[in-house]
Symmetry: C2
Subunit: 317 residues, 2 copies
DNA sequence: TTCGGCCATAGACAGAAGCTATCGCACCTT
DNA sequence: AAGGTGCGATAGCTTCTGTCTATGGCCGAA
């Protein structure tokens, strides 16, 4: 019974809904108006759903019709994207997918992206290139990169942003730092010694957001040291004994350790980003896959965070 | 060019892929085998993608074909669900959607579910009924409820589970409790006084999971008081001065307060649940909507948790 | 009243999807 | 080696249906 509904009908429905008018929709579809009217009428009769209410000056959409209209627009778009991608896969004409990434993005995020791509597009290759978020966004605008994996926030309407990872933001310190005796760091303790930051030039929005968050808990830090890589940050922590905020999943120099900040629930979030005007045929399919995988997380039961390290275990014993 | 691909083709492709055999697929589709072969061949030629490799003993699927096959199966299913739902909306034959919920589910989750349903299915009504998770699962099995909003975990293969909310699990205590002087509760402090629990009979899996989590951090609590509602729990905390673990978003008696547990990241998760064999025509559409809304969270920048209450602010000042 | 915009109806035609019958091919059995 | 079996491809015909042009009806504006 649903088999009466073909993509042709969905295209017609979308056109009528968007023009609000059978005549103009027919023009847009390069179709005679009676053909269009007849098709839609027969469909409505066939499935027993009135989609449009005909008026002398155009059409209105019924509530049930609205469901079908929304679906129609999305379904036609999806079909076209899938077919384009599949044809590119078949023809072996999928261009290398050029991905930019910030060095602050964890390796495992890049690895799982890479694996997802390899399984969706077997035999197709990716090219990763690192850089500052600012520079990477510029390169995407200049079309020399197709997409990127970057820390949030990313502002601007021209980007499609799909979050892919999130980890607590923790305080990084020397393992022999007095603060390492504590299991959590209080904001006032942090305020005095937080001096090491990512270079704001590399990602000004992220820096601004971090400052805003610090202000909210009454900290106005002394931005003394600017680093451009996680390694630099760790080296600065090690040598200057200052504190830094880092992603909990960052691989850590053994002489360093991390502690959570008390009373806040800050996270370092990472997203897959590409220009709205994406051209690479794999992107729509890849984004759809990321959304599916990420959307329904395996949250079958409450999560837990294991103790971050042995030292904390000892302190609690 | 993609317009050659119609739902008819997708159905045929799915059937061939699932049977691995044109002949048997044709039987399943009540179609003559030459018609099927011809349709698929013309489609492959038309879009320029070879989907199947014909062998003397059946067919194999090409990599590009696999993309299309997966898509085909999903797309046909989606179409049917949408049309069924739309027809029910149009005919005004959408039965009342009977939702069960546990009283441990936060009101705002139920409210946003209710709003989503009202906008997707205007004019259609829902019926909420509260109860124990165990009892609600039974009522869903007995078909006297269509779906439910319940705390996780929900075990068993017969359920479709879509997480819809998550909040930290915190320690509930009297505001005048000595522990309320601290900003975080250490597990050993919790171990001594954690006595108040939800009744295990109401949701044995959740109780078991909580016990397991407590064991992981070395706590074997004395399960002294069993409550069946958040209000009961709060009354017990107030009167017995014991501690309880509750969802941070629970509306709190003003004489009580909550504190996070140090070093763990436990959450109380809530999910929309319905039987795999769901019959209510709105459910597939509703679930699809929940997944879309929930999947791409507005995680445009790093999240923060505001201080839970004024007292904590004072302690930090 | 008349004109113009919009949708519905009618009838003709071409193309596409379906059917039956048959062929070709590879493999298996005897 | 010969014949049987299972599977897909091809050919030719029929039926159905999607499209076209032409036209009619309705309503509001000029």
């Amino acid at each position: 019974m649903c088999d009466l509904v073909e993509f042709r009908h969905l295209k017609y429905i979308a056109a009528v809904a968007e023009t609000g008018n059978f005549t103009r929709a027919a023009e847009r579809l390069f179709l005679a108006q009676p053909s269009l009217s007849k098709q839609i009428k027969e469909l409505e009769d066939g499935i027993g759903i009135q989609i449009f209410v005909r008026h002398h000056d155009g059409v209105r959409i019924t509530p049930a019709g609205q469901m079908i209209v929304s679906y129609a627009i999305e379904a036609v778009k999806t079909r076209n994207e899938i077919i384009q991608a599949a044809r590119a896969v078949h023809g072996g004409t999928i261009p290398v997918l050029r991905i930019g990434f910030s060095c602050f993005v964890q390796q495992d995020v890049l690895r799982s992206l890479s694996e997802a791509y390899a399984s969706l597009f077997p035999g197709c290759s990716m090219q990763f290139s690192g850089g500052d978020p600012v520079q990477i966004l510029h390169r995407m605008e200049a079309k020399s990169l197709d997409a990127a994996v970057l820390p949030l926030p990313i502002n601007g309407e021209q980007w499609t942003v799909e979050p892919v990872a999130s980890a607590p933001l923790v305080v990084c310190m020397r393992a022999d730092d007095p603060l390492a005796q504590q299991t959590e760091i209080q904001p006032p303790e942090l305020a005095e010694r937080l001096k090491i930051f990512r270079n704001p030039e590399a990602h000004s929005e992220a820096h601004a957001r971090l400052m805003e968050m610090l202000t909210e808990i009454g900290i106005t830090p002394d931005v003394a040291c600017l680093a451009t890589t996680p390694t630099d940050i760790q080296w600065m922590v090690q040598s200057s004994s200052g504190l830094a905020l880092i992603d909990q999943k960052t691989p850590l120099d053994p002489r360093l350790t991390t502690r959570p900040i008390a009373n806040v629930n800050w996270t370092a979030d990472t997203a897959f980003v590409h220009p709205l005007s994406a051209e690479h045929p794999a992107l729509p399919v890849l984004i759809r896959h990321l959304r599916k995988v990420n959307g329904s997380k395996p949250a079958k039961h409450t999560h837990r965070r294991k103790y971050a390290n042995d030292l904390q275990m000892k302190l609690l014993a």
